[in-house]
């Protein structure tokens, strides 16, 4: 429980700081400090148990138990040590940052990010579940991204942040894969369980995979070769961030994980050769680059890379003793490196530059800063009696005994060279910055910063000295206890002391110091050699890779999504056909079934010929649109006749009426589409499309043939046939199916129509404005039009036909339940009748006389249909249940009333409303194109009124 509180405190601090974004800087700092201090104190309270007695504090909480992702926390000595570093150094950094940041910097945001990062870091070291660990791991990547990019206006900050995120979060993904594999080998994702499964894990065939993936995660985070390049660019962050992330926390996460996993992963050749080698190489390269870096922060950054390599190498050795040394050095490095970063920050802050070539002689100008810096740098160099010396000695001792591929000299020699380089760059920091003559060209006049900025590093330097002098007393118990946790057993005997006697390590150490001093002495010469070395710049490689990634993505994207509907449709058709063919071929079976076919009579064949001819004509006339419309009518007519022939009178009725409405619609729209023939596509394109069409057509035809020639498989429609009259009260089974058995489909269908009308309305309502309105206003007709708008003959005929059509429509509606017909067809007939009226006497004239709004017709239609359905619920029958009864009235005789007819009424009304809304709106727009004419007569020629306008 208290572990939960411990973990929550930094996050709470982050929230608090974010919430206080308007408060004063001090309040914000106090909020962050408060949270951090509380956490630190809480952590200290665990010390007696964890460090003293070796207890492991746990807190268990199930999160996603089904995959073993638990929010389990545990605090063992290793975790305690890291938590101590995180919270302890964090505390100092918070104080330091309060004074370091300028008033222009948003302090609240900074602290929020920093506390977020702290929480994430703490999460890593407290997790008892590897999946949970990944959560925090990635959270550190994210929060460090924010911190590095804190000075968002600086391009280097943005780039550095992105690079750090890409590398560390990307590595985190590899780590995720790794721990998933590991967890599956071990049978659990709980660390405590995994740590007990060394045998199983190391003998598993998946061990190399898991190891490799986990190491990628560790190496990226800890900036190990070849992933080392991101770290220096992360130095664009404000110095407190660098000090925090790159001394004690972020980059140590990788090392932490190496230590954490050490008991189960270490000890194999694979571990040794991969981890130790990478560490060694990194140590060398980092040190070399650090030596020749002029930016103090870059120098420190590469030094960090080098020291992380140092640690990695130690853990890579796989021996308990090496692990002990590693743990000790983690502590030491954190102290002197954090101090050094802050010192570098102070110099930058006060002098206005971090370029080592422009510095020197600061000892007298900034005595406190310089003193602290010199001690810390000396520790980094490994000078006695500082803590850096102790752990470096021990490392060299370990290196001296390490045999790499039967080469006993390799590791000691390389380690010594690295140590020498380390001495050199440390001395360079020390000498080129603080010593030497004062310079006159500093950007600013340097003096010591306020205590808030030198106290934190000073405090750390006190530790550096104290540990150096009294290692066993101060660090001994901690190292002892942590080593036990890492090794998973009683650690080997070790002595933290200055003098081990004349050991090979001492010799190596001395050599290193001498060589390092020599290098610094001949620094200029060394530098000129270095600059001539052809070293590939990792950053450029990385950026090149990223650029190529973006370019590839871009060309992939534009190659695939070229915006051509023609291509998209071709893809769709081809995919469907290929899939269908694949299904048919793998499924097998026969094409033709056992059902007897019906011989075709000559009339049917002639209809078929008409259909083929008309279809061919449509294709031929596709660019002569008016003709195409006439031809397509024939197709519709033949289809309707086919429905007549094949016992589908309802379909024929519907087809006939839909057909005419569609044609009217197309004619209305056609009038306003450009009439000049569009360019034809190339012969190749046409051939391709023809091929796709032919294959698709054949596929559809074969499927139709295959089904039609098969004996039906006991279709459910026999139930519909049997129950239409008895249960649905109608003899027209199709209609009963529509309004009763499958009324829900019909309900959806009228809604589709209603929505179509709404969408059409919404589209056209605006057509008279803007660009479109302009285009309409400046419409140029391409042909001569007759001046006669409302021919008399037509008007006269319509006067008779409108009532006739309405009565026919009503009849069709009423009989629909028993004979072909129904609401939909009736609705269409009413629409056609009204459209006839519109055509005859004009939109304005007819519309002014219309009494209902078309919108409300649609609404009412839907409401009636739905309400009919709901009516059933009132009687606790399911939605759309129907009732019907036969009534006997005097004079009238027997008649039937069915609720389904009410539903059908809703259908008819909706259809009528929708069709009228769509076509009326279209006519309205068309009329706009012609300009409005005062029009109050139903026909142009009306002899009964005499000539309308006397000729001149």
């Amino acid at each position: 429980m208290s572990l939960g509180v411990l973990l929550a405190l930094p996050f709470l601090g982050a929230l608090l700081c974010a919430a206080l974004y308007r408060s004063s800087r001090t309040v914000q700092a106090l909020a962050a400090l408060g949270a951090n201090t509380a956490a630190f104190l809480l952590l200290l309270s665990f010390a007696p148990g964890v460090i003293g007695a070796g207890e492991v504090v746990t807190a268990k909480l199930e999160w996603v138990p089904s995959i073993g992702l638990n929010a389990n926390l545990f605090l063992d000595p290793l975790g305690w040590m890291f938590a101590g570093l995180i919270l302890g150094i964090g505390l100092l950094i918070l104080i330091y940052a309060r004074f370091y940041l300028s008033p222009a910097d948003p302090m609240g945001r900074f602290y929020a990010f920093l506390m977020l990062f702290q929480g994430a870091m703490l999460g890593i070291v407290l997790s008892d579940n590897v999946l949970l660990l990944i959560v925090f791991w990635e959270l550190t990547s994210l929060s460090s991204f924010l911190l590095i990019g804190f000075w968002r206006a600086r391009p280097d900050a943005r780039e550095g942040a992105r690079m750090a995120l890409a590398v560390t979060a990307g590595g985190g993904l590899a780590l995720l894969a790794g721990v998933l594999v590991l967890g599956n080998i071990a049978g659990s994702y709980d660390l405590t369980t995994i740590l007990g499964e060394r045998e199983i894990i190391q003998s598993s065939p998946l061990y190399p995979l898991a190891l490799g993936l986990i190491l990628v995660g560790c190496f990226t985070k800890s900036a190990q070769f070849p992933f080392h390049f991101w770290l220096p660019h992360a130095m664009a962050a404000p110095t407190p961030v660098s000090a925090y992330l790159h001394s004690a926390t972020m980059v140590k996460a990788g090392v932490f994980l190496l230590a954490r996993m050490w008991p189960v992963l270490a000890g194999t050749d694979m571990w040794f050769y991969s981890v130790a080698t990478v560490g060694l190489v990194t140590m060398l390269i980092g040190a070399a680059i650090a030596l020749f870096s002029n930016d103090l922060k870059a120098l420190l950054a590469y030094s960090t890379v080098s020291h992380l390599g140092f640690l990695t190498m130690l853990f890579g050795f796989g021996t308990p003793m090496a692990a002990v040394v590693g743990i000790f050095h983690i502590l030491n490095h954190a102290t002197f490196k954090a101090a050094l970063f802050m010192i570098a920050g102070n110099i930058d802050h006060e002098v206005g530059t971090r370029d080592a070539r422009r510095l020197g002689g600061l000892l007298t100008l900034m005595p406190i800063t310089a003193t602290v810096g010199i001690v810390a740098a000396a520790s980094m160099a490994g000078f006695p009696p500082l803590n850096g010396f102790l752990s470096k000695e021990m490392m060299l001792e370990q290196a001296a005994h390490t045999i790499w591929a039967d080469l006993s000299w390799l590791v000691p020699v390389l380690a010594t060279i690295a140590a020498a380089l380390s001495v050199a760059y440390s001395l360079r920091f020390l000498v080129h910055v603080f010593l030497g003559p004062k310079r006159l060209d500093y950007p600013r006049t340097p003096h010591d910063p306020p205590p808030g900025m030198w106290l934190p590093p000073a405090l750390l330097v006190v530790l550096v000295i104290a540990v150096g002098l009294f290692p066993a007393a101060i660090a001994g118990p901690l190292v002892q206890s942590v080593s036990g946790a890492v090794i998973g057993a009683e650690p080997p005997y070790f002595a933290l002391k200055m003098w081990h006697g004349f050991t090979p390590a001492l010799l190596m150490s001395a050599l290193a110091i001498a060589a390092g001093a020599a290098i610094l002495w001949r620094y200029a010469a060394a530098e000129s050699v270095w600059t001539r070395l052809p070293i590939p710049v990792a950053k450029a490689l990385f950026e090149g890779f990223m650029r190529r990634l973006v370019e590839t993505s871009y060309s992939l994207d534009s190659a695939i999504h070229n915006g051509s509907l023609q291509r998209y449709l071709a893809i769709l058709f081809v995919t469907a056909v290929v899939l269908a063919a694949g299904g048919a071929l793998t499924g097998g079976g026969s094409l033709t079934g056992d059902r007897a076919t019906i011989p075709a009579n000559p009339v049917a064949i002639i209809g078929w010929l008409a259909m083929i001819g008309a279809t061919a004509a449509v294709i031929w006339a596709q660019r002569r649109r008016y003709l195409a419309l006439i031809f397509i009518s024939v197709v519709g007519l033949v289809v309707a006749m086919g429905f007549v022939h094949l016992s589908a009178p309802d379909l024929a009725l519907t087809q006939v009426s839909v057909e005419v409405v569609t044609i009217l619609l197309l004619l209305l729209a056609l009038n306003m589409l450009p009439r000049q023939p569009p360019p034809v596509s190339s012969a190749r394109r046409r051939a391709r499309d023809g091929l796709i069409g032919a294959v698709g057509g054949v596929a559809a035809g074969l499927a139709a043939w295959a089904v039609m020639t098969r004996v039906p498989n006991d279709p459910i429609s026999s139930f519909h046939w049997a129950n239409a009259y008895s249960g649905g009260g109608g003899t027209n089974v199709v209609n009963v199916t529509l309004v009763d058995f499958r009324a829900f489909d019909t309900f959806g269908e009228i809604i589709v129509l209603g929505i179509a009308a709404l969408a059409i309305f919404a589209l056209l309502e605006t057509a008279t404005r803007g660009v479109s309105g302009y285009r309409l206003l400046h419409w140029k007709f391409e042909t001569v039009n007759s001046p006669e708008r409302h021919p008399m003959m037509m008007v006269v005929a319509t006067r008779l036909l409108l009532p006739l059509a309405i009565i026919v429509g009503l009849y069709i509606f009423l009989r629909g339940h028993n004979l072909p017909g129904g609401g939909f067809i009736a609705g269409l007939i009413f629409s056609i009748a009204m459209l006839m009226q519109y055509m005859a006497s004009g939109f304005e004239w007819a519309d002014r006389r219309a009494r209902v709004t078309r919108h409300s017709l649609i609404s009412w239609g839907v409401i009636i249909a739905a309400a009919t359905g709901v009516g059933a619920i009132v009687f606790d029958a399911p939605l759309f249940s129907t009732a019907f009864a036969h009534f006997q009235l005097p004079l009238v005789g027997e008649f039937e009333l069915a609720t389904a007819m009410l539903f059908d009424l809703g259908v008819a009304i909706t259809v009528f409303g929708a069709v009228m809304l769509a076509l009326a709106e279209l006519s309205h727009v068309a009329q706009r194109a012609e300009g409005t004419i005062e029009d109050d007569t139903p026909m142009d020629v009306d002899p009964s009124r005499g000539p309308r306008e006397e000729p001149a």
């Binding site: 968002r152 894969a177 469907a576 058995f741």
Partner: protein, 506 residues
């Protein structure tokens, strides 16, 4: 009899029709009714989810005609989940649309919106294949209306493509349903499941061809490669708020794949078991790749969001097309996450573009804009969700998918694809965000330019979505419990079939 199950279909129909009636009066009535109805739908969905969570399958025989003869609505865990997701998302989008006056910028927004919900809910509830087609059409045509809402040249052009390609899709749907009826003699999916198992060998080819075409239709909706091609232009050119609602549209395709495959062509389908979807896994993997590559290639936030949708839906499809119980459970967890996350990204996109009069959504640095701080946080959180980084549910979802894929032979492909594309996603979104918020900040630290849009109320819906994702993360355990059981229910459809075929009705 429990009639509550029809409410998700009935209420939107009534409300849409009523709003249409009242359109002459103030918009306020429309808004009030719209919000009230959406809230009701949310409550209903919660209630139905609770009802379904005990594992029972409720079958509602419309018109009192028993299955397979009439149409049935079926409520199981999956459909309840989809209903809740729809209700949640639509309420949030509605909120946003009202906040930003989107509903003023064209006709009939609220009616179309409710018709859209009607279509979605109907599709999720129906137990009948043809009825599914009908509701596909309802939701599609409503989506056409919404997609075009507000108009403008680019939107219209994209709309033409969207409409046409979906019309072709509908044609294919009909053909597939037709053959399935012709071969099996039924339309009810449960009944079809029973009959498919007994289809003789000589009809197998026909059956599978039809099933494959049906899958291609669903894949079109779900934006599965190579049928995803329509999506970027459509989603990038509609108003982002509508695109946010459309995040659920691809899930209709996914839902349909899950439903039809597990129920009709699942383990019990005899020879045809799983056959119609064998091609899906490679396609889904490529979809993820294309989606995340598009994220890198995007030159505007809208493109970015569209590709993020493709990529994350692709990830979902990867999990689905493993056709494994654990993977399906993972997919079901990931499904609401990806829907909401994509929606949030679209909403953020809209908020950004609304505040940048000159540069709109394009990923170029421009002057600082109002509430860019808040938006940068939202963008960051949304990106985290979309990419699947901790601490949001996307991470849990991907984790679940990886974990589920592990024992399967296709694991290497699934793992490498998901992990590598996540990496690409991180890179891409970091690029985009740093350009948009950091680089822009660098350009003008001066006073904020006067913008049309000064309020911050429009950030609330996206914030709420992130909050919901956080809740989904924290409650991943109980959620997975539900998803596990839902997946189990899908993989053993006997209860479903019994509930449907043994249900009431004349």
């Amino acid at each position: 009899m429990n009639h509550l199950i029809v409410l998700p279909v009935l209420l939107p129909a009534f409300v849409a029709a009523l709003i249409m009636l009242f359109r002459r009066y103030t918009l306020r009535i429309g808004r009030t009714v719209s919000i009230a109805s959406s809230l009701t739908l949310l409550l209903t969905a919660v209630f139905l989810l609770v009802q379904a969570s005990d594992g029972s399958v409720a079958s509602y025989a419309l018109g009192d005609w028993r299955a397979p003869f009439g149409i049935v609505l079926v409520l199981d865990r999956l459909s309840a989940l989809m209903l809740l997701l729809t209700a949640t998302l639509s309420l949030l989008v509605l909120w946003y649309a009202i906040q930003t006056d989107l509903d003023r910028r064209g006709w009939h927004f609220h009616s179309l919106f409710h018709f859209q919900m009607l279509g979605l809910n109907g599709a999720f509830l129906t137990g009948d294949l043809f009825n599914l087609f009908v509701f596909f059409e309802v939701l599609l045509i409503a989506s056409y209306g919404l997609m075009l809402h507000g108009q403008g040249a680019e939107r219209l052009k994209a709309g033409v493509q969207y409409v046409i390609i979906n019309l072709v899709g509908s044609t294919l749907f009909l053909i597939a349903v037709g053959v399935l009826y012709g071969v099996t003699g039924t339309l009810n999916m449960a009944d079809m499941a029973v009959r498919v198992a007994a289809i003789p060998p000589q009809d197998q080819g026909l059956l599978r061809a039809a099933a494959a075409v049906l899958m291609s239709v669903f894949a079109l909706k779900a934006a599965l490669l190579p049928l995803h091609v329509w999506l970027p232009r459509t989603y990038a050119n509609t108003s982002p708020a509508v695109a946010a609602l459309f995040a659920i549209m691809t899930k209709v395709g996914v839902y349909s794949i899950i439903r039809v495959m597990t129920l009709v062509f699942g383990t019990g389908a005899g020879e045809a078991a799983w056959a119609p979807a064998e091609w899906m896994l490679p396609a889904a993997l490529l979809t993820v790749v294309i989606g995340f590559a598009g994220l890198l290639a995007a030159r505007g936030l809208r493109d970015l969001a569209a590709f993020a949708l493709i990529g994350s839906t692709g990830t979902l499809l990867v999990a689905v097309s493993l056709f494994d119980e654990a993977a399906l459970a993972a997919a079901l967890y990931y499904l609401p996450h990806t829907t909401l996350a994509a929606a949030a990204l679209f909403l953020v996109t809209d908020s950004v573009q609304r505040r940048r009069p000159e540069n709109g959504d394009s990923l170029v640095p421009g002057p600082r804009f109002v509430s860019s701080e808040a938006l940068s946080v939202l963008f960051l959180m949304t990106s985290i969700a979309i990419v699947g980084l901790p601490p949001l549910s996307g991470f849990v979802g991907k984790l679940l998918i990886l974990e589920a894929a592990q024992p399967l032979p296709s694991a290497p492909w699934v793992w490498s694809t998901i992990l590598l594309t996540t990496f690409v996603g991180i890179v891409a979104l970091a690029r985009a965000g740093s350009t948009l918020f950091w680089k822009s900040a660098a350009i003008g630290e001066g006073p904020l330019p006067a913008a049309r849009w000064q309020r911050t109320a429009d950030l609330m819906p996206a914030t709420t979505i992130l909050l919901l994702l956080a809740i989904l993360t924290v409650l991943a355990g109980p959620a997975m419990d539900y998803m596990d059981k839902a997946a189990a229910q899908l993989f053993l459809p006997t209860a479903y079939i019994e509930a449907v075929l043994g249900g009431q009705g004349r």
